[in-house]
């Protein structure tokens, strides 16, 4: 990308953010509901919660299960996708399971987790895995399954062994879809973690929401929700940078 379109895309991005915030402020001032604070009120609550360490201690509790869950699913899911993409038998066995899992309303299953995993760390991890696994597995599978035949043939002609074929052809070719799956999976996993905190174990960021809602502190509640959105978008864009660095240098804007 040259400098001009880049400048333009940044201007557009900032403009759309400003627009959304302005809309928020306006809706808060009407107000559309007594439970809907203005943007400025939510932001001052946000600032306060950063400064007094509320966020730090809440996120410390949420991030643990999220990281463990997403890492487990990312590794397991990519592996499952790889195996399913490379072996027709595993494809036959595994694919329907994940398609059904993806289509099912997993959030409804979350309360059931307590029966097996109780209400601790493991329950949260399981909620993360439950929500993030299908999209990660299916995307890895699709990416790997659709590796261009011409590149596989080329690597064969130049005598690639199995390992080289996977690392130098299949994974880079599939990386776009794999990382798209990871991004969606992390977003889903985040939902899983917060849902678990809302539904089963009142801790972490989910508990912030519950707590401020019950006290009708809507500024703080919205600040908590805002922090989740912010946290999710920052981690997702970091992930995209990582992908470009590892696999697809040609897509890096110069």
């Amino acid at each position: 990308m040259s400098a001009r379109p880049r400048l333009l895309s940044w201007t557009l991005r900032i403009a759309s953010i400003v627009f959304v915030f302005a809309l928020w402020e306006w809706a808060g001032r009407i107000p559309v509901s007594i439970a809907f604070p203005t943007f400025t009120a939510a932001m001052s609550a946000f600032r306060e919660m950063i400064l007094d360490g509320t966020f730090a201690s809440a996120y410390a509790e949420t991030i643990g299960p999220l990281l463990v869950g997403v890492l487990l699913t990312a590794l397991g899911g990519m592996l499952a996708g790889l195996v399913m993409g490379l072996s027709p038998k595993a494809e036959w066995l595994g694919l329907p399971l994940f398609i059904v899992l993806q289509a099912s309303p997993s959030a409804a299953i979350i309360p059931l987790i307590t029966f097996i995993y109780g209400i601790g760390f493991a329950a949260k991890v399981f909620a993360v895995v439950l929500l993030s696994a299908p999209v990660i597995v299916l995307n890895s599978y699709r990416g790997i399954h659709n590796t261009p035949r011409s590149l596989l043939e080329m690597s064969e002609a130049f005598l690639a062994n199995r390992r080289q074929r996977i690392w130098k052809i299949v994974l880079p070719a599939a990386s776009g879809l794999i990382f798209a799956g990871l991004r969606l999976g992390i977003a889903q996993g985040f939902t899983g973690a917060v849902l678990a905190e809302l539904i089963i174990t009142p801790t972490g960021v989910g508990d912030l929401i519950t707590f401020y809602r019950s006290g009708a502190d809507y500024d703080y509640m919205f600040a908590s929700i805002f922090s989740i959105v912010l946290f999710a978008s920052v981690s997702l864009s970091l992930l995209q940078k990582l992908e470009q660095r590892i696999f697809r240098p040609e897509m890096r804007p110069t």
Partner: protein
Amino acid sequence: MNHPHTDTGPRSTAELAPEPAVRVQDLTKEYPGGIQALDKVTFDMPKGELTSIIGPSGCGKTTTLKIIAGLIEPSAGEVMVYGKAVRGPGPERAFVFQEFALLPWATVLRNVAFGLELRGVGKKEREDMAREYIVKMNLAGFEDAYPHQLSGGMRQRVGLARAMAVDADILLMDEPFASVDEQIRRKFQEDLLHLLSVEKKSVVFVTHSIEEAVYVSDQIVILTRGPAHVSKVVRPGIDRSGDSQEIRRSPGYLDSVENIWDELREYLEE
């Protein structure tokens, strides 16, 4: 398979010659789905020569080349490389793909060096070798470019350089000059001839262009419309010592072009 040779094809004359680099014997290929692409294709490719394969579009040229490369298994018949039956790809053969098959996420330098990378050659060494062919293929200055930043002709040259860089004895080229204009095409033909005179390789070269085939080949295998079999093998016997313009105007060259036209016309009209 060792049938007694009773037919009078090109093979019987080659019997007298030394062992060919590649012997293609009764190749038959039926794709899953019932499309028959080849029907007993037989020809020899002498060592150190350039053999062209020419024939109507879709007749089975790529299929033939890929079977020689060991990328596709024939339904019947076999390919011998230096007297040994082909069971798969080998280091003595390198392929130039019709659709380039470059890694979109790798630079020109890495793409050219990719064959060597797969063979485990160290980074410094393989990049030095790659640079050599990048210069020979007139790609200097584009080492760090990605394929999507190159023109079709340049991508094709990256594919050529990649095949040259592994230093295989036998080059299998599938329409290597298809995506360049006539002027550059002629320059490539010169470059190829020059390269071959220096590097001593045996080449199979698929092309759509009769003029190109006559100009660069020692031997031309003409295939029929699919399912292909060998219609005729022609040795143009062009004297390439002179200037290229002169060669293209010489009676020998023009006669060969005309002959092949006549041979192929049969399959085009129907």
